[in-house]
Structures are given as C-alpha cells and as structure tokens.
C-alpha cells in the first residue's frame, strides 16, 4: 500500500519534471497517469491495489457515522425512558486483530459510539473488556461489534 502510493507520487513528480510545469494541476494529471500505470501493472505487486484500501477506509468512516447516529438514538431512548429497566453489563470481546493500531482503532470506535466503553485490553491483546449500558444478549452484542467494526477494520488492514 505505502509502496504503491509512494510510486504514484514519484510518477507524478517525474511527470511534473518532464513537462517542466510545477503546478498543482500538472501534479494531479501526473498522479492520474501514474494511477493508470499502476492499475495496468497491478499483477507485479504482492499487495492489492491501494485504492481498494482507501475505499475500505472510507467505508469504515461511513460505518462509524452510521453506528454513531443509531447508537446515539438508542441511548437517547434509554435516557428518556421513565422506568429504569436497563441491563448494564461488562463482557469480554475476543478479538483476532493483531496490530497495535488495529486494536486502538477498534477500542476507539467502540468507545466513541455511545452506550459502550472499552475498559481494558488484556495483556496478550486478545480480549477487550467492554462495558455496555443496555444489553439483552451478550452473544448478540459481541456479534454486532465483530460483524461491523472488526470486519471493516480487517478489510482496511488486509494486505
């Protein structure tokens, strides 16, 4: 990913030097030509094309905004409910994310969506302890996080 992006920047720079015009528009033209070249030669790279990764990042951001809105509404419902019949609990979420930044990203996303807070990461970085404000079924809560955020993060980090 980083190598492809760097190569694309390099091609854009070479394009600028070849056309001896050092403006932003020349850079963008060179960048687009470089993108075309990289798409043509995509089989030489061991990683997948970097635009898919950018696309996955964008999808993760959109997913976060969607979850943020939905969980804000559900917390609002909890707050406005006249009766306090909520079921708060702390549960362990097993995760198979490996890198530090992935775990940090997942915990930040979980904490930023209202209703859930990451309390601790276990020492072997395989379990996240999460406090949730209103949970009916633990497996449901684990599944919903695993299927939304963790899947999207894995999509971003896949080489």
């Amino acid at each position: 990913m980083a190598f492809q992006l760097l190569l694309n920047f390099f091609i854009a720079l070479v394009w600028m030097f070849m056309s001896t015009s050092f403006t932003a528009s020349t850079f963008i033209i060179g960048f687009l030509i470089g993108l075309l070249l990289i798409i043509m030669t995509r089989r030489f790279f061991s990683d997948r094309l970097y635009i898919w990764r950018l696309w996955a990042t964008l999808k993760l951001a959109l997913l976060f905004f969607k979850e943020l809105t939905l969980s804000n509404i559900s917390v609002l419902q909890v707050v406005l409910r006249p009766k306090m019949n909520i079921q708060p609990m702390i549960f362990a979420l097993p995760t198979d994310l490996e890198h530090d930044w992935e775990i940090t990203l997942l915990s930040s996303l979980i904490t930023l969506t209202p209703g859930t807070i990451v309390l601790n990461v276990s020492d072997d970085q395989k379990t996240l302890y999460i406090h949730a404000i209103d949970v009916d079924d633990v497996d449901d809560a684990i599944d919903s996080i695993k299927n939304s955020f963790e899947k999207a993060i894995k999509e971003v980090s896949r080489p």
């Binding site: 930044w101 775990i103 940090t104 915990s107 930040s108 990451v118 990461v121 276990s122 020492d123 970085q125």
Partner: protein, 140 residues
C-alpha cells in the same frame, strides 16, 4: 505489575507529532499573532511529557538522546549572542535588526534577529522544564 497500555501508547505515537508540529507553529507565529518562544517551548515540553506518561523514562531518554541541561545552555548562549551581536555594529546592546528576504517556497519573508533570541528562549524553556521533570521522575 505490567499493564497493557496499547491504546495509550499507539495514540501517543500519533498525537506527539501533532502537538510538536503545533508547538513549532506557535513558535513561528509569535511575531504577528499570539505565540512565541515561551508557549512554544512549553508545548514542546508538553509533548515530551506525554511521551513520558505513555512510556517509561528510559525509553524516552533513548528516543530523545539530548542532554537537556546542555539544551538550556545552548539556549542561553543564543539569547546572549543575539544581544551581544549588536555591539559589533556600534549600536546599543539588544538592538535588533531586520530585513525582507525573498526565500524559495516562502516568498518575501521579513527575517528579524528577535527570532534568534526567541529560539534561545524556546530552548531554555524546553531544556529547563524537561530537566526538572526528568530529575523529579528519575532515581538519580
């Protein structure tokens, strides 16, 4: 006891650079807008303190291998040198000079010797504050 600070440490690695960049911005902003050597230096110290909070003293000393006492000394020398330099031009002590220069990328920039004095202040603040924190925090 070993605790898992993965979230704090990964976030610190990113935020450190943002704070450091902002401190440099504040330092250069000092002439026309609020900012300057003192707040810039304190912000840099803040970034280093954040590193110290997230990692331990030894790691930070290895990552930033500066002797901060010497940094303070260099800062004082810079400030004194700027002030004393005016003597050679037959003007009173601490007289500053400035001129407009055309630099590549920056365009026409007015460079002022007060900036060098400010750099001295910056280094003294960073050196002194980090020395204090490291001395209180360390065993030595």
């Amino acid at each position: 006891m070993k605790t898992n600070d993965v979230i704090l440490q990964t976030t610190t690695k990113l935020v450190f650079f943002i704070i450091f960049l902002f401190s440099i911005h504040i330092f250069f902003a000092g002439h026309y807008t609020p900012g300057g050597g003192f707040v810039g230096g304190l912000l840099t110290t803040g970034a280093i303190v954040l590193l110290l909070l997230a990692f331990d003293l030894k790691t930070v000393q290895k990552a930033l291998p500066f002797n901060f006492t010497i940094v303070t000394g260099i800062g004082l020398l810079l400030a004194l040198g700027t002030a004393a330099g005016s003597i050679f031009f037959n003007v009173p002590f601490f007289t500053h000079a400035f001129d407009d220069f055309t630099l590549p990328l920056f365009g026409t920039t007015s460079l002022h010797t007060a900036m060098i004095f400010d750099a001295g202040v910056y280094l003294v603040v960073v050196g002194a504050a980090v020395t204090m924190i490291q001395t209180i925090g360390g065993d030595a």
